[in-house]
Amino acid sequence: MKIPKERLEKYKGLKRDFAEEDYINLQPIQRGGILTEEAMRAILEFGDGYSTCDWCPPKTARLDMITNPPIQDFYKDLAEFLGMDVARVVTRCREAKFIAFRMLGRPGDYIVLDSTAHYSSYIAAELADMKIKEVPNSGPPEFRVDLNEYATKIEEVKKESGKLPAAVLLTHVDYLYGNLNDAKIVSKISKEYGVPFILNCAYTAGIMPVDGRELGADIITSSGHKSWAASAPTGILAFNKSLEEKLTVRSKIEGDLTKRRFGAKELAMLGCTVMGAPLITLMASFPEVVSRVERWGEELEKVRYLVSELERIEGVKQLGIRPKMHTLTHMETEGFYKVSQTHKRKGYFLYDELRERKIVGIQPGLTKHFKFNTYGLTWDQIRYVRDAFFDIAKKYGLNVC
């Protein structure tokens, strides 16, 4: 089929409306994925399709065996950085979870997970044909996951199915409130039961220090485009030696006519995973990532400062555990909601006002509560955001104490 030329025009000269150079972007999922200078430069070299595969060794044709660019070394360094034994780069954190579920359990098995887990944790279990058992949280205003309840839920699974769950999953920092969960508690419980412990570090590894060994994780999953200054799609699956055999089992299939076999390929990775530009950005940003996690303390100072300043506005209150232990933040904003009730743009007024001040990333239409992430913003940008909110509040007659 031929597509008319005029219809193709829209694909030329693609531009982003909210370039990082022009706006302050508070979008919770985007702050940790902003590329480093090295990553931007590396795209020039390795943006073309299979460009990372120029030197793929013919006898062991597999991504993790490539030494130029140093993918093999990177996998080792990545595992060491996370305090794990083995690492693989996969397409997304959700794929890492799916691989873990699929390779550790069987259809019908249970996964015990926290009730603030990302939807993709549920869907990964669904695709693996597994059931889930949720660990409750305290509800408003803290939404704190009751980590000791993992033991109760494991017992429930045992009672219902006659066997232990295939794995337990804890979301290290949840996407809703940015609460940091104490992984050691869940690790201890999972070890007592002998159930593999998966720590989902989509919002933590890559921006704050995460040591899987210290936290007692058997598997760590993470997201390159969310927290490792990499392009999408990039995910990380890191695990301990004890699970290597299960997770990296090789392909055994054989062609019935050709007798072809693919014994070098890792089954769950479907052979090679992320090649080309996304992987290269993850690698190119790695030195900066290793260094930036050491500055996590300052990131916490900035978010706590902004939260305390925004709470000076009438009707504004932070949700989730206090003090903030992560830069992803959920605010309840009754004052702005009241304004929206009489504004002609309704809930969109706040978005409009922020956008006018070159701030984006707060979901359009939301005024009663919204999320933001301050990760990587400079102090000047933090103050700019504060001033913009104060300005909007005063414009609509809200008190700023």
């Binding site: 200078e37 430069r41 701030i359 400079t378 000047d380 940008q381």
Partner: protein
């Protein structure tokens, strides 16, 4: 002959070599110089990212931008000279 040079230039085993002055092989150096120039401009983009949205730069940042612009200009001039001589 031209085809031979083109193939040689595309062969990773010959990267970095300069098979014949004035031949297509010279463009290997040109592409690397061009990428370095883009790299200098990327540095500036990164300063803009750190100072968005009003781009009030400190003295250090201004110096960094000027250094990158100067370096990019020198590289572009060199490239221009190379192609016209």
């Amino acid at each position: 002959m031209a085809e031979r040079f083109r193939r040689r230039a595309a062969d990773p085993l010959h990267w970095g070599s300069n098979p014949h002055p004035g031949s297509i092989g010279d463009y290997m150096g040109m592409s690397s110089e061009l990428k370095e120039t883009i790299g200098e401009l990327i540095k500036i983009l990164n300063v803009l990212r750190k100072t968005s949205p009003n781009h009030q730069m400190g003295d250090g940042q201004k110096e960094e931008v000027i250094r990158a612009l100067d370096s990019a200009r020198r590289r572009l001039e060199k490239l221009r000279e190379g192609i016209t001589t």
